[in-house]
């Protein structure tokens, strides 16, 4: 399972980075920035619950779990 940002929707509210700091931080402008090297970072089983919560919390539905 990976987390994917739909950049055409994301407006940099920053909720996802607060709920999933293990995978996401924010850049200079408030947009989610993957902390690792992957474009769509892998979500480990232990983080799955947090990832789902982050997806639900996005006010623009810009975050998705894929695969």
């Amino acid at each position: 399972m990976r987390i994917h940002v739909d950049w055409t929707r994301c407006d940099g509210h920053g909720a996802c980075a607060e709920l999933l700091p293990e995978l996401l931080t924010t850049d200079d402008w408030g947009f989610p920035l993957v902390t690792g090297d992957e474009r769509d970072p892998q979500v480990t089983v232990s983080l799955a619950g947090h990832a789902r919560r982050a997806v639900k919390a996005c006010p623009l539905q810009a975050l998705r779990l894929v695969d």
């Binding site: 940002v5 950049w7 055409t8 994301c10 850049d27 402008w29 947009f31 920035l33 998705r64 894929v66």
Partner: protein, 385 residues
């Protein structure tokens, strides 16, 4: 631009006299796989795999002649000289796949009249579209054809699943279609007679230079894959002593140093993180400061953002600013800052526009590292007169 004809003049010569054969989808896919044709629009994806991905789904087939890359002129020339081949290619693919619609999308720089004439009496719809740098991106083109703003969509749903009219859509570059029309007539072996075994056939290259005296024959040239880059430059009349670098693949491409012994193939260019792309070769003249020129290109690319994705909208202008500061000797900026901003745009958009720009900037910093050092010390040995 003048045109150079070579012994490998297949695409720009007189129209074939014998008719286009009819092929069923499996036959066409097998033939194209044998020929080893790859997309000539920039991505370089194997065409047989693209055909197979929509076979059996009654797709819409789109011929892409948006030619948004300012350094490229090959699609315009191809459609002026050989519009029939491109229309044939679309008809061939359309008949094989049972396509619902066949659309040929022309950007503003493509001459429309010869194409409309060639398409008369065929199923091919010719559409004249407005376009910028990203208008030729597959999903942007699909959006434009469907009457939405011509900006890229999130790549989660690829156009070969849902594109024009909501149908599976196959987008092929105009040159790729012309190559298909020739392969269908002449066979795979004929196509492979030039080029290398892993990268066969010819491609149209657009060669230009930053200085007026560097290149005697700028323009479009059909050359074989596998030709040494320096031979291609010589054929275009380059004064190799004046060349300080060659940008291969256009504004999203990468620089190759002038003394590099590199063949124009996917594998060999990969050594410089470059690819033949849409066949663009820009020769950098020794009087042009590479950093100043790169900053101009980065500025242009920032301006071509579709303005959808935050990192692209915010980061690209700052990246161009940082490069511009580096280009003015004595202005305080750091290589680290350029690298940091490059990292902030790379891979962070719906389309490859930020990624391509990041690749171009990375290549500039790497290939012209010595020149960057000069600038940091307040000097520049490029001497524009």
């Amino acid at each position: 631009m003048s045109t150079l004809l070579t012994s490998t003049d297949r695409l720009l010569g007189p129209a074939p006299e014998y008719p286009l054969p009819h092929l069923e989808a499996p036959e066409l896919i097998r033939l194209v796989e044998e020929a080893g044709l790859t997309g000539r629009g920039g991505g370089g994806f194997p065409t047989a795999r693209k055909l197979a991905s929509v076979a059996g789904h009654l797709p819409v087939v789109v011929g892409n002649a948006m030619e948004g890359e300012p350094l490229s002129a090959k699609d315009a020339l191809l459609l002026a000289r050989s519009p029939g081949l491109v229309v044939d290619g679309l008809s061939l693919v359309g008949a094989a796949l049972g396509a619902k619609r066949l659309v040929l999308a022309l950007g503003p720089r493509i001459p429309a009249e010869p194409v409309q004439l060639a398409a008369r009496g065929t199923r091919v719809e010719v559409r004249l579209l407005p376009g910028g740098f990203v208008a030729g991106q597959e999903s942007a083109l699909v959006n434009l054809l469907d009457g939405r703003p011509g900006v890229p969509s999130d790549p989660r749903v690829p156009v070969f699943h849902r594109g024009v009219d909501g149908r599976p859509t196959l987008v092929l570059n105009a040159e790729t279609l012309a190559q298909l029309a020739l392969i269908a007539r002449n066979g795979a072996a004929w196509f492979r007679a030039v080029g290398t075994p892993s990268d066969p056939g010819t491609f149209l290259a657009t060669i230009s230079a930053t200085g007026p005296t560097t290149l005697r024959h700028p323009g479009v040239l059909e050359i074989a894959r596998g030709l040494p880059l320096r031979s291609a430059l010589r054929t275009a009349g380059a004064d190799l002593d004046r060349v300080t670098g060659v940008l291969v693949g256009g504004y999203h491409g990468a620089w190759v140093p002038p003394d590099a012994d590199v063949l124009l193939t996917v594998d060999d260019l990969a050594r410089f993180r470059a690819s033949p792309g849409a066949g663009v070769l820009l020769v950098l003249d020794r009087d042009t400061c590479p950093l100043a020129h790169a900053a101009t290109i980065a500025r242009y690319l920032a301006g071509q953002s579709a303005r959808q994705c935050g990192p692209c909208v915010n980061g690209m202008p700052l990246l161009a600013d940082a490069l511009a500061r580096l280009a003015s000797p004595g202005t305080a900026t750091t290589v680290t800052e350029v690298e940091r901003l490059r990292g902030l745009v790379d891979g962070r958009g719906a389309c490859a526009h930020p990624d391509g720009t990041a690749r171009f900037v990375a290549s500039t910093m790497q290939v012209f590292a010595a020149h960057v050092q000069q600038h940091l010390e307040g000097a520049c040995d490029a001497d524009p007169r």
